[in-house]
Symmetry: C2
Subunit: 345 residues, 2 copies
DNA sequence: TCGTTTTTCTAGAACGATTTAGAAGAACGA
DNA sequence: TCGTTCTTCTAAATCGTTCTAGAAAAACGA
């Protein structure tokens, strides 16, 4: 049955196309009897309801919001933190009969124009941990697509749902200071190390705004400590593992390792285990996010309400009743067994 | 600048809209000089390229494929198995400049019509572990959207990329039989237990076709064993944990527990650890999928090439050169330390 | 030089719906 | 009975492209 459209149905029933459209979208605009007759005829003709593209064009609503991820999709999903965010977002999306459009941000050919960000039919975009200044953000702005970021940007008119990165990290920093740590390594996500060879970075090279802020928070709360920044690659278990290996096998071991995400911290935990190091005694380990696995592993971490973050982003994008455009979510230091006093030497 | 369209640009440059369209889509249809002039003017006017919806309508291609997940999205993504599938699919999607549209499948009001499946603008759909007979599948069929399932369906004209569930499970069953196990508990995903209270089920109540087939495979290879089916909720670590707790704390402990997914098996592993039970010695534990964490945990499992499965689904949906519509992927029993001989008594 | 092909561009009709403004008829109050 | 308000339905414009067919100009071969 090729080409069964609104018009076909309208003709078959003997009404105008508008009425058929109303039968689907505004049931109170026509009598129940007629509506039922229309729906029945539609069924009979094998008409599956208004075409999505046509509706999107005419009404200006795509029925989908984009989710922008940095890096490859695989990395994004391997972090339960990302999954939690997505789950919260999906919950709201579902409520508004909206789908989620996954937009992997391959570093290549963003500028090319033939990329998802340029093409996608979306009503809004959730920017998940994408560094400020990324070309994709400009494209979105150009297209006039409302975007909500999970990071606080500098522009006052940008929407975001974020945490106070500096304060959150400072909480952890104070905890470490109290425990007497002065030699600290911070494990960060970084593209430079993606090849497999861990690298040591300066603060300027870190890149991701949120990482940078967290490090600043640590510095602020640990003015007397020596902070080294190391990356084993993109945000993943394996990167934390590699980064920690690099640090643990080097001459000057720190007394504490802070992963800027729990998955990285858990990777570091693995490296410690292999070397027979007990977290909290031989070396202090801390993470960020408080993903489910963190509590199982006894990892000290900074909890952020990730699912709520996803929900909030969804509401800002989809719920017209929500007018607040910038939301600061609470964080909480969760102290577990992986952190302990710095060993005297 | 509201309403900058193809026409606006065309007028500004002094050419026809068709030409501007060609500048974007068919660069060889016009002189380079003109094309560059058009692109420059577009930039100047703040025109962000052809509108996605309009293009979708006119060309009949949405530029996106839907991904249907059963249950709540959160459960879906907490399983690395799902993530692997998605990664494979995303790889192919990227190659064909197509986006992935995640479609949350609320169990409620699917029939209502105001759901994502009905509304979404997609060219095809990947059906990931959605039980046959689900209303969403019918909606897709009605809309004439090609769909590829990860489960073998009964209809001969349905496309799928699957494994031989029965045989795969039978491989594992033979292994267990050889080890002398006769008291076996199978942990399954089930909505009934989603509340938190584990339940014991009959085969008829299992629901998901693939789960059912796997159990049949086990039965086939373990004709003399007593198989009990238990669920601790939806497919997740926590469900496996709860299900195993229920089983381990009951009067008649089995000698082997089989999780129908690795995440559930790993949850069960946790329950065993807490109770001081060593897998492979005190109790045999096995899973399904062979996710990365399985090897780290020494879990005996049935490997399936999940990323390839995702890729294959993507190719069937997007690559016109691929004509094969039904693909059986290989599986392999991976024996690790979590399985051992049944204790004599 | 004169057809013929190739290149470059255009006019105008789709694509399939929604929206706006308003008509026709029914129901209502006085 | 008559004007007024609802209810129910419709005509026509519009959303922003891409497509088909073909015109005009340029290039080509002999």
């Amino acid at each position: 049955m090729p080409g069964v459209t609104l018009k076909t149905v309208a003709k078959a029933v003997g009404v105008s196309p508008s009425t058929v459209s109303n039968a689907y979208n505004k049931p109170d605009q026509l009598s129940t009897a007629l509506r039922e007759r229309i729906l029945a005829t539609a069924q009979e003709l094998g008409y599956a309801g208004p075409d999505a593209s046509a509706r999107a064009l005419r009404s200006g609503k795509a029925g989908a919001v984009g989710v922008l991820f940095t890096d490859k999709l695989a990395y994004a999903f391997s972090d339960p933190y990302a999954v939690g965010f997505l789950a919260g977002l999906a919950e709201v999306a579902e409520e508004f009969a909206t789908s989620l459009l996954l937009m992997p941000l391959s570093s290549t050919d963003i500028a090319g124009g033939s990329n998802a960000v340029q093409q996608a039919a979306i009503d809004g975009a959730a920017i998940f941990c994408v560094p400020g200044g990324h070309p994709a953000l400009e494209i979105l702005a150009n297209r006039g697509i409302p975007a909500v970021s999970t990071d606080r940007g500098d522009h006052p008119d940008l929407s975001w749902v974020a945490i106070d990165e500096v304060e959150a990290a400072a909480q952890l920093g104070e905890h470490l200071t109290r425990l007497g740590h002065r030699e600290v390594v911070v494990l960060v996500d970084n593209a430079q190390a993606a090849g497999g060879q861990p690298v040591e970075l300066t603060l300027d090279e870190v890149g991701y705004t949120d990482c940078e802020l967290r490090i600043r928070g640590l510095q602020k709360a640990m003015p007397d400590a020596r902070l080294r920044i190391v990356s084993g690659g993109h945000n993943a278990f394996a990167s934390g593992l590699r980064g920690a290996e690099f640090v643990l096998d080097s001459q000057n071991r720190p007394t504490a390792i802070v992963g800027l995400s729990d998955v990285q911290a858990l990777g570091a935990l693995e490296a410690m285990k292999v070397r027979g190091l007990t977290p909290g005694r031989d070396l202090t380990l801390a993470g960020f996010d408080d993903i489910p696995a963190a509590s199982a592993a006894g990892l000290t971490t900074v909890r952020q309400p990730i699912k709520d973050k996803g929900r909030a982003v969804g509401r800002i994008l989809l719920d017209p009743a929500v007018t607040e455009r910038q939301l600061l979510m609470p964080t909480q230091l969760i102290v577990r067994s992986s952190s302990g006093p710095a060993p005297k030497h």
